[in-house]
């Protein structure tokens, strides 16, 4: 029995949470857009294909670890992946990198270790990292079965999709800087539209829904796993700090916390909208369902092993 209604809306609270999410995420989104601008200007189109292994499956596996070299959190990853896809990165590799990078990333590894101190930090960190890689690679491998057209937003890979010309600005250091700025601006604003919508959804659910509703689910393993994946989506916390929140969900089993830590950085509410900047709606829906089922089943299985941690 809830002590308050399950849904109570307050406009000032919604506005406050909405602005907070935007202020927190904007620098990371901007960093991703600037990186995208730099990649566009300085990364030769053939380099991506030359750096990755020739075997497509190995290339997908390798993409899961790119976050260790180019660590980008989930807010900044979308503009970077959009750009890399336009530069010739295979779609399956782009999706693998996008899903893995917010987890397979030095900052996130350290923060998970710190947050779970005294609660099986090493086990949780290793499992989060491993599950992040496994899920991202599986998603990448599955994507090889689909055509790019069915996965990507229409026009994304079009060779003249608005990014290869710079309105009269030419070469030279100043010109190239202006080109970086022009691409970064376009990418930042394109993705920001989805970020604003995602922040609004996260703020609405984060402030108006009574979080007590998930507490009764904590005693049932599959329900606890599903409910914490739902909570991760609602809270939309940055992957560098979400472990500090997960560590406090003491009523829930560790497998449910693991699901929170893997599902959230791959598909929270703001990401659901952000992915719209690069992928088709149908693909995003399939991705959401696939990730929910895959992570849910794996964590349920891990939970049922009754590991001592």
């Amino acid at each position: 029995m809830l002590s308050a209604p399950w849904f109570q809306f307050s406009l000032p609270d919604f506005q406050y949470a909405f602005l907070s999410i935007l202020l927190e995420g904007a620098p990371f989104l901007l960093a991703g857009a600037l990186l995208s601008g730099i990649l566009e200007e300085y990364l030769p189109p053939s380099l991506m294909t030359r750096l990755l292994p020739a075997n497509p499956r190995l290339a997908i596996v390798a993409s899961a670890f790119v976050g260790l070299v180019i660590p980008v959190c989930e807010c900044g990853i979308v503009p970077v992946v959009r750009r890399l896809l336009r530069k010739g990165l295979p779609v399956s590799c782009g999706i693998t990198y996008m899903l893995a990078a917010p987890i397979v990333n030095p900052l996130v590894i350290l923060s998970t270790m710190a947050a779970f101190r005294g609660q099986g930090a090493l086990e949780m960190t290793i499992l989060r990292f491993t599950l992040g890689v496994v899920v991202a690679v599986s998603a990448g491998l599955l994507c090889t079965r689909f055509t790019s057209f069915s996965i990507l937003r229409p026009g994304l890979l079009s060779p003249d999709d608005g990014d290869h010309h710079h309105h009269g600005i030419e070469s030279g250091i100043r010109g190239r800087l202006a080109n970086v700025a022009a691409t970064a601006t376009r990418d930042f604003l394109d993705v920001s539209v989805f970020f604003v919508l995602g922040a609004a959804a996260a703020a609405l659910f984060g402030t108006a829904v009574n979080q007590e509703i998930i507490l009764p689910l904590s005693t049932n393993l599959p329900l606890s796993v599903a409910s914490l994946m739902g909570l991760a989506s609602v809270l939309s916390v940055c992957s560098t700090t979400d472990a500090f929140i997960a560590a406090t969900l003491t009523a829930f089993p560790m497998a449910a916390k693991l699901a929170f830590l893997v599902f959230g950085p791959m598909l929270d509410f703001k990401l659901l909208f952000l992915y719209g900047a690069a992928f088709s709606n149908r693909f995003i829906l399939l991705l959401a369902l696939g990730l929910f089922v895959m992570i849910g089943l794996i964590c349920w299985r891990i939970g049922s092993l009754n590991l001592a941690w």
């Binding site: 308050a4 109570q8 809306f9 307050s10 406009l11 000032p12 609270d13 506005q15 406050y16 949470a17 909405f18 602005l19 907070s20 999410i21 935007l22 202020l23 927190e24 904007a26 620098p27 901007l30 947050a115 779970f116 101190r117 005294g118 609660q119 026009g155 079009s158 060779p159 003249d160 999709d161 608005g162 290869h164 010309h165 710079h166 309105h167 009269g168 202006a178 700025a181 022009a182 601006t185 376009r186 930042f188 604003l189 539209v193 919508l197 996260a202 703020a203 984060g206 402030t207 108006a208 829904v209 809270l235 939309s236 916390v237 700090t241 500090f244 929140i245 560590a247 406090t248 003491t250």
Partner: protein, 289 residues
């Protein structure tokens, strides 16, 4: 039409970057940024404010270049008026190609969405939570439920990472935080430092709707954040006072009184027996971390 949309979208881009950047710097300059973000994230956001203005500068320079060279250099077969041959329209989704917009409606929709944060900022309402969010998130009175490495460590080790008790002012009450009382609730050694001594606490007022038959209790709440206000968790202790002044919900109050830690309903609780409760201004650091 395409040329007009292109120019309008470039103008819009410059304007939005300028507004967002100025908005961030205005929040920082007016001292309001700490009401939204953890201190460790504030430099990044301020940096983003400056960068957005810099990008706006580049966008404005780009506009000037466009004015000078309307038939800009791209691989499409534009004429000087921005017109393209018919086959381009069919094959290249030309509107999206140049403007990232799908016609006038696309331009308007994108502009509207991008203006929403500025309108919210200008509304002036968005600087604190009301008691609705406190109710929806529940008031935390158990340290192990606080999202902090220190809390986890304290739980694991029993007595590590406990904050130092604030020194007593000569002839005055000891300044105390809500979170100090929560630590004290779990650690008897820490409790002894201020139990039944006169303390002063600044917190937000939340009325108690349950467990308050005499109507002499309220909750003194502070918001504990990990990254930003959106993840804030209310932490609080019960205050018992013979006279409670008229304070709006979530209004700031200064409470003078003595902490006690009685057993209630079979478990130890933290209560501040107040001798005085008065409204006050918000502290410079509205959150606890």
């Amino acid at each position: 039409m395409h040329a007009v949309i292109r120019i309008l979208s470039e103008v819009r881009n410059a304007l939005i970057l300028l507004l967002w950047g100025t908005g961030i710097l205005w929040l920082a300059g007016s001292g309001r940024l700490p009401t939204y973000l953890h201190p460790s994230l504030q430099p990044f956001t301020v940096g983003a404010g400056f960068l957005l203005i810099l990008l706006a500068g580049f966008a404005i320079m780009g506009l000037a270049t466009m004015r000078r060279a309307p038939g800009h250099s791209c691989s499409c077969d534009h004429d000087a008026h921005g017109q393209v041959p018919h086959y381009h329209h069919e094959e290249h989704h030309h509107e999206e190609h140049h403007h990232g917009e799908k016609g006038v409606l696309g331009l308007l929709a994108k502009t509207t969405v991008l203006l929403v944060p500025i309108l919210v900022l200008l509304s002036g309402n968005a600087d604190r939570f009301t008691s609705t969010t406190v109710t929806n998130r529940g008031v935390v009175q158990d340290l192990s439920k606080l999202p902090s490495a220190n809390a986890s460590a304290a739980k694991a080790a029993g007595n590590t990472a406990v904050p130092e008790a604030s020194p007593v002012k000569p002839g005055g009450a000891m300044p105390l935080q809500v979170i100090d009382m929560l630590y004290a609730l779990q650690m008897p050694s820490y409790r002894e430092e201020f139990e039944e001594k006169e303390v002063e606490m600044i917190a937000q007022y939340v009325p108690m709707t349950t467990g308050n038959p005499k109507g002499d209790r309220f909750q003194a709440v502070r918001m504990f954040i990990t990254c930003c206000a959106a993840d804030a968790k209310p932490v609080g202790v019960t205050v018992r006072a013979s006279a409670i002044p008229k304070v709006p919900e979530m209004g700031w109050v200064r409470i003078t009184g003595k902490p006690i830690f009685p057993m209630e309903g079979g478990k130890r609780t933290a209560i501040l027996e107040a001798s005085k409760v008065e409204p006050c201004d918000a502290p410079s650091e509205p959150f606890v971390y």
